[in-house]
């Protein structure tokens, strides 16, 4: 099992590039490879885009595809971190309250935005929703973590249960906001809760991308310790891991990356659950391989999903969360079933 295929990573990278190119090429406006090339040429020589195709490529398609790929990578890596931390393969990134908190934060802006002070709005500009979402995500996770902390140590099970409870609180808060909202506001909340990349901009790519690079470098450094944690906290201590410190750091990394990603694109479920799971079937749970593999595969999967979101009902756009769940869930079930059958044959 898991015979390390030396072509696995190269294949994954080639696939990622192919998917990225396809996602850039296809859309309401078809963009040819020659146009991508000439557009880049014009950009780097300081000229404006030569025609509408080049403009679409540079201002709309490219940032959208990049934001999507980076978000996918973040969600998948976060899934690996959370599943490793909780030593439970059915955990997903939002479990500790981050996405429910972010959703509530965003819904507050959608519904009560008109009452907020104009100075605040002019100061934050288009970042108002992301800032509230980010704050909501951080706050919810912090509450979960502090409540789960009794005396000197944080028990994983308590963390999980309190996470579920705070998630419920966040959801009901969002529900209440939709209830008191007017129709268009409620619609914004619904859209946000299903995720969308339609508002992607270079500023977002920059913020999310920088966060991703920093967080990935830091979390890959914990790969070894996360492996040790798979044996249980006690065993991890015995092989020299400072588990309380590790848990805290992983929680912080996860909160930052999920809050940032969610802040711009809304709640996207299932990617963080399915990607690590599927990859484990192929390469096992060694985090030294699973983390980088999930990063690439998460980017591929979410980029594909966004292509679907744009193309399936074109010119209308489907919220991406609907695609990830609707397509992801059945694939997930099929793969799990197949894995079960294989294991029974082996056993």
């Amino acid at each position: 099992m898991f015979r390390q295929n030396k072509y696995f990573f190269p294949a994954l990278i080639v696939l990622l590039i192919a998917v990225l190119l396809c996602a850039i090429a296809f859309g309401a406006v078809r963009i040819l490879p020659a146009e991508m090339f000439s557009s880049m040429q014009h950009f780097f020589s300081g000229q404006g885009p030569a025609d509408i195709h080049e403009g679409v490529f540079l201002q709309l398609r490219l940032p959208r595809v990049l934001l999507c790929a980076i978000t996918g990578a973040i969600l998948a890596v976060s899934g690996v971190l959370m599943q490793g931390l909780f030593r439970n393969p059915i955990v997903e990134p939002g479990l500790v309250g981050t996405s429910a908190g972010a959703a509530f934060g965003a819904s507050v802006v959608f519904v009560l935005g008109a009452n907020l002070s104009p100075e605040l709005k002019s100061y934050t500009g288009p970042l108002l929703v992301p800032i509230f979402a980010f704050g909501g995500g951080l706050l919810a996770t912090y509450v979960v973590y502090s409540l789960a902390k009794n005396l000197s140590r944080v028990s994983i099970i308590t963390l999980l249960l309190i996470g579920i409870a705070i998630n419920a609180v966040g959801l009901s808060g969002t529900g209440f906001m939709s209830y008191i909202a007017r129709d268009p506001q409620a619609r914004s909340i619904t859209f946000w809760n299903l995720g969308t990349f339609s508002g992607a901009s270079w500023l977002q790519v920059l913020i999310v991308g920088t966060t991703a690079v920093i967080v990935f470098i830091l979390s890959f450094r914990y790969a070894k310790q996360l492996n040790a944690l798979l044996l249980g906290e006690e065993e991890a201590n015995y092989i020299g891991v400072d588990t309380p410190k590790l848990k805290k750091r992983i929680m912080i990394l996860n909160t930052v990356m999920v809050s940032v990603a969610t802040a711009f694109v809304g709640v996207i479920t299932f990617v963080g659950l399915i990607v690590p799971h599927v990859l484990r079937l192929f390469i096992g749970s060694d985090n030294k391989k699973l983390l980088p593999a999930s990063m690439i595969a998460g980017a591929i999967l979410l980029t594909l999903a966004d292509m679907g979101a744009r193309l399936l009902l074109a010119p209308a756009e489907i919220p991406i969360g609907i695609i990830t769940s609707l397509v992801g869930a059945p694939i997930f079930i099929v793969l799990l079933k197949r894995a079960n059958i294989l294991q029974h044959k082996e056993g």
């Binding site: 030593r87 393969p89 249980g232 201590n237 092989i239 484990r280 096992g284 749970s285 030294k288």
Partner: protein, 257 residues
């Protein structure tokens, strides 16, 4: 030298360890026996620095175990627990490599690979190296963990090292029980002091250099002379009537029920 003084440990006012003072001499194979719930595992956890006793200190060569940085501690003592929970698919060689984690940063060095190969051979799991850990039998899993803890303290024989085994042979067949204990006993030439919790008294007699009988959080008897262990001691500790035979050739007793 491993030393404790007046260790007290309680959970919710239930006293689990009640004033344990003892020391373990370098290179010997110490066995702890006693009925269920007498505090054997807690004793090991306190000794290995996992649990902080309410009173008393554990000293490794005069150094308080709780003051030793975790990574340094991991290089000088390894613990094989009763049942490590590993529910994720991992290949066996990576599980064994975890024993080397305190010794390298990101990538294992050649020496780490070599040590793992050697300890996997010793624990008789080298043929399982590429298998998924989850598909192994209970005994095979236990041998994988033995290879892992051996790898953890395999090199640097210049320092005193310690190996704690908590019912390490519970799932093993006869041959592997003896192999594991023989290997553990031979670790004195690597400067390793072994402290093992065992349930099988005959195995304890056969391999132990010294046996500690625990009951209700105390050490009731502590002896290096196996022939001293008579029917009364067994009766007092385990509340079971047995017959003790002393074999003339090995000078070690055998008990029969």
């Amino acid at each position: 030298m491993l030393k404790t003084e007046n260790i007290q440990y309680a959970v919710d006012n239930k006293k689990i360890l009640q004033g344990i003072s003892t020391s373990f001499k370098e290179g010997l194979f110490h066995v702890i026996v006693g009925p269920n719930g007498c505090g054997k595992s807690t004793f090991l956890k306190v000794f290995s620095g996992e649990l902080k006793p309410q009173e008393g200190t554990v000293k490794y060569d005069e150094e308080n175990v709780l003051a030793i940085p975790k990574n340094n501690l991991a290089k000088k003592r390894a613990v094989m627990s009763q049942q490590p929970e590993l529910q994720f698919p991992l290949i066996v060689s990576e599980v064994v490599m975890m024993g080397r984690y305190p010794h390298f940063d990101f990538r294992p060095d050649k020496i780490d690979e070599d040590i793992c190969a050697e300890t996997m051979k010793i624990a008789d799991v080298n043929h399982l190296a590429d298998r998924d850990y989850l598909t192994l039998s209970g005994g095979e899993k236990q041998r994988v963990h033995f290879a892992r803890v051996l790898a953890q303290i395999w090199n640097d024989d210049s320092i005193n090292k310690f190996l704690f085994l908590d019912e390490a042979v519970s799932h093993l067949d006869l041959k592997h029980q003896h192999q594991l204990l023989q290997t553990s006993k031979s670790l004195y030439n690597k400067n390793v002091t072994v402290i093992a919790v065992l349930h099988d008294l005959n195995l304890a007699y056969a391999y132990g250099d010294r046996i500690l009988f625990m009951k209700e959080g105390r050490i009731l008897h502590d002896t290096s002379d196996m022939q001293q262990i008579d029917t009364n001691i067994i009766k007092e500790v385990f509340e079971v009537n047995v017959t003790v035979f002393n074999l003339t050739d090995t000078k070690r007793p055998v008990i029969v029920f």
